[in-house]
Symmetry: C2
Subunit: 399 residues, 2 copies
């Protein structure tokens, strides 16, 4: 246990309480100052001061008219509800992958302001970062031109990200090893914009926890599957990273069919049993343009073909065994399936849930729920944007 923590001054206090107010507005919606004081436990005077600052900073607005949200309660002076608009304050989320780059910008209230995807021509060569940098600077410039401020940016990367959240340690799909991606982007952003990077599964997990099907729980596990399998772990509302930042690399756990050969050369890796390729050979079908299209085609076939359904159920069993392992270790309240599992949900989840119920040691006490992601292809970028704003809500960033 090394030394942690930093000195705290009075302005740190203010930031913390500001974060508290912002979180309350986001989680429980608009409220009057008095109501906010009740929610947060702060004194009315303090809330008044904080709201005043936020208002002049453009983070919140007094909706003088549409006070229909809270019942006026009849008597007394009616309060003016304060709403988290924060249209001016944006978090920029970026995603880089082998065949596309994407950008999502959200404002403080969580509203998505911009979504943009650009294909990347991968002529066999490992992709450069130029497309990413171009997209990022383009989106940011146009946002700034329209009067917004981009407080932070985060990039979701398919690979291992170092613990400093600035370096790509190992991204075999991209061929980026030890790349200082955060510094590159910061250099490209005129005027400066603090930038971090994170694993794509981590970002998607964050997206599910903040906007998706895991909003109601504090501890969740996100599982994404395409050719490889990756996990993002949210514990107490924050991402679990591990000593080197490599937590959640669950694809090569020895689970499932012990004789299956994995792309990594070893035997018995989980993704050799439940990865896209394994699924395709099990159902006897071919790969299509994208994992999602492939999975949708398989789901269509399953509607008519019994053997496909049995193969998928068997895959669901392997999936459930791995989930049981993860659940025993992490005890999440909800497990979210993303990636190619989404179209196949109805065919794999029941089998997985059943295995989970059988295998979980504390099943009689506590059984986590398996849910399907609804966020679609931009989950990782959305989570990255959310991550970019996270420091605002904790109060680490001023305005």
């Amino acid at each position: 246990m090394a030394l942690t923590g930093s000195p705290a001054g009075t302005e740190h206090l203010r930031r913390q309480n500001t974060g508290l107010v912002l979180r309350s507005l986001r989680v429980d919606g608009p409220a009057t100052r008095t109501e906010l004081a009740r929610r947060t436990g702060l004194a009315k005077a303090t809330v008044g001061s904080i709201v005043g600052e936020l208002e002049s900073g453009g983070a919140v607005t007094e909706n003088g008219t549409a006070s229909t949200t809270t019942v006026p309660s009849g008597r007394g002076r009616p309060g003016k509800p304060v709403t988290l608009t924060g249209e001016a304050i944006l978090g920029l989320g970026l995603e880089v992958n082998v065949d596309y780059v994407a950008a999502v910008a959200i404002d403080l209230s969580g509203r998505v302001k911009v979504v943009e995807t650009r294909p990347v021509a991968t002529a066999g060569r490992p992709p450069s970062a130029t497309e990413l940098v171009e997209l990022a600077t383009d989106v940011r410039s146009s946002l700034i031109a329209s009067g917004h401020t981009v407080v932070r940016a985060t990039v979701a990367v398919p690979g291992l990200v170092a613990h400093d959240n600035r370096t790509v340690s190992w991204a075999p799909n991209l061929g980026w090893n030890g790349r200082e991606l955060a510094a590159e982007l910061e250099h490209a952003f005129a005027g400066g914009c603090p930038t971090t990077i994170d694993n794509d599964a981590n970002c998607a997990a964050l997206a599910e926890a903040s906007h998706g099907v895991a909003v109601d729980v504090e501890d969740s596990l996100y599982l994404t599957g395409t050719i490889g399998i990756g996990a993002g772990i949210v514990q107490r509302g924050t991402l679990l990273r591990g000593g080197a930042g490599f937590a959640g690399e669950v694809g090569h756990m020895p689970i499932g069919d012990p004789t299956a050969t994995c792309g990594c050369g070893r035997l018995g890796c989980w993704e050799a049993s439940i990865g896209l390729r394994a699924m395709l050979t099990a159902v006897g079908m071919d790969e299509q343009a994208t994992p999602l299209q492939t999975a949708t085609a398989v789901a269509d076939r399953a509607a008519s073909d019994d053997s496909v359904r049995t193969a998928l159920a068997a895959l669901g069993g392997h999936l459930g065994r791995g989930i049981a392992t993860l659940a025993a270790v992490l005890d999440p309240s909800a497990i979210v399936l993303g990636g190619y599992f989404v179209p196949l949900g109805e065919h794999v989840v029941p089998a997985a849930q059943q295995v989970l119920a059988e295998r979980l040691p504390s099943a009689d006490i506590h059984l986590p729920e398996i849910r399907l992601s609804t966020l679609g292809i931009h989950a990782a970028a959305l989570g990255a944007a959310e991550h970019a704003l996270a420091d605002v809500f904790t109060g680490a960033v001023p305005l």
Copy 2:
């Protein structure tokens, strides 16, 4: 993601900075006020004020003489180093098990002040809590009589502990289900002493991270083995609990020999391959009074018996496979083996480490180290005591 956080006033600030000073003194040793200011980043005046308070509270003392710790650097007025003595301020750690109860008290500097163990006569009946309560009140009374203050108490329990850290959800060995143990103890403590409970593996993990072989890392995994297998997970210096507090229940992960029958009735549980019973049948020996004695006898036999050595190496392989799984999920910097694995260390660790190196996806980048616990039988109680003091160091508790 639900609403989290609480309002912060100025006195909260002081507690936080006090915690910072205390942690610095503990982690990096005694220091002068100026040195503390440099370490923590606080202003000299602030440190002076905080140290003054701590001194009058009995947490630290000015060792006027033994200033040999820091080199006087020649010139200038020599500083008076401040040492974390805190002899008056104690954390009480308790452990309850099927055949004994134990108590450990440590002071702020981490020095162990009291260790006491009492056997429990289990005449087949599930043990009551009377022995625990008696031991706890006895130890606490005598400490108070000798002028100490017991700030907090924590009980390590072999079983599932609810997320509130006050209720035993499920402890089959003790037959305690849904027992409000924390409340019972608080009721027994005259004058009141905030009490929490926690899983024994969690406590032992904390002990290793604060006093044992994992002091140098922030993320560690503790694995204890007797008849069952349990894990304690430390991430960023704090325990990982999970949504219901059941994280770390790794004994029944489907890993190892898939045909082995587990005590829980299922097939292929990890502890059916590496638990004490499995180990004994593998080496063909009988159980003795305690798991540690049993393991020591096996280790003795291994010195002369080749077949025992091979059996243990095979067990080490199963151990390694499970560790590889856990390491892939959690990415710990160190893995600590406790329980009956300690005497068998030289026979199982090499095989486990080899499997780990083979199976870990990021082996070329980052390979966690497997270490053997050195804390002995009182690890859980020591960790519980550490846990009891944790709130002092975070600043959540005044004095």
